[in-house]
């Protein structure tokens, strides 16, 4: 994709917008439609778009393979630790009232944001890692070969 100037310019502009929209879906998930999973795939789609247009080497400068693969586990860890946190304070697993017992609603709020963040992190990096492992095996093709 050496000569697709218009695609490159539009992509540079769009990637920021897509990631911003993904973050909005992530952190506004308790007010508007969406949540961790949707936000994760949207952010991953931004990176994959960048990878297609700019080439795999360039996107891997921004997001190295090892970082994507290791961060995928961090999301699940964050989710599970949120649950374990409430066990330590004498509540059931994943009972978010434990986070602030004086304000139960605030506790639920923080808990949901943390948990959705965990889902979002896992989904984003799993999608990117899957894309890397597919695209890393594909030989570089000229436009004509398609």
């Amino acid at each position: 994709m050496k000569h697709h100037l218009i695609l490159k310019v539009i992509t540079k502009f769009m990637v920021g917008v897509i990631v911003l929209f993904g973050l909005y879906v992530q952190f506004h998930g308790d007010y508007s439609p969406g949540g961790g999973f949707q936000a994760g795939v949207i952010i991953a789609a931004a990176f994959i778009l960048y990878g297609i247009v700019m080439g795999l080497e360039n996107v891997q400068k921004v997001m190295p393979i090892w970082f994507a693969q290791k961060s995928a586990a961090v999301g699940v860890l964050l989710y599970a630790l949120t649950g374990v946190f409430s066990i330590f304070f004498g509540f059931e697993f994943l009972n978010y009232y434990a986070i602030s017992p004086e304000h139960p609603k605030h506790g639920q709020h923080y808990g949901i944001i943390l948990v959705e963040l965990g889902v979002g992190i896992t989904v984003t990096f799993v999608m990117i890692a899957i894309y890397y492992s597919f695209a890393g095996r594909t030989p570089r093709l000229d436009d004509k070969e398609w």
Partner: protein, 169 residues
């Protein structure tokens, strides 16, 4: 109607690049269908995963394998009959379902209305879907996240493991 047209076009074409692009278009149209039915979060997912990520992954797979579908020798009458029969049965099954958005359908009467009435009282957030997913059904969502991680790990192990072995040889 558009969905049916795209599906028939994808079936008749032999060139896999066009078929993959059509399946992406199919996902995008069904995402619009979800928006029309007020399931915006499902539409997000369908547009991003179905039309975006999976199209890219299928293209990457196609680049590794062949471009054109093989000609089949076997007669298609029996598979066609099975597909038509299943389709008729599925449509027959929908006849018993309540109409979309009916007030007295079972989905609206039992658990749905309970969640609608208690979510805001319990946690003070307006999005009931998020409330159910993250709080009432927290275990399920944890399980789903683990499933996503496991699927990703499987793909990473299968694909990059082979590459490493080839490098060593």
């Amino acid at each position: 109607m558009v969905l049916v047209t795209i599906a028939i076009m994808a079936l008749t074409l032999k060139h896999l690049f066009a078929v993959i692009m059509l399946s992406g278009a199919f996902s995008l149209v069904s995402a619009m269908l979800f928006v029309v039915m007020d399931a915006v979060d499902v539409a997000f997912t369908e547009a991003a995963v179905g039309a975006g990520v999976s199209t890219v992954l299928m293209l990457a797979t196609m680049a590794l394998t062949v471009r054109v579908q093989k000609e089949t020798k076997r007669p298609i009458i029996f598979p066609l009959a099975v597909v038509c029969l299943v389709g008729v049965l599925l449509i027959y099954g929908t006849l018993d379902m309540p109409n979309f958005g009916t007030f007295d359908s079972p989905a609206q009467l039992h658990l749905g209305s309970t969640y609608l009435s208690i979510t805001y009282k319990d946690m003070g957030i307006p999005n009931v879907v998020t409330g159910i997913l993250a709080s009432y059904r927290g275990y399920d969502t944890l399980g789903e996240t683990v499933v996503v991680l496991t699927a990703g790990l499987g793909v990473i192990l299968l694909l990059s493991g082979l590459k490493g072995r080839k490098d060593k040889e």
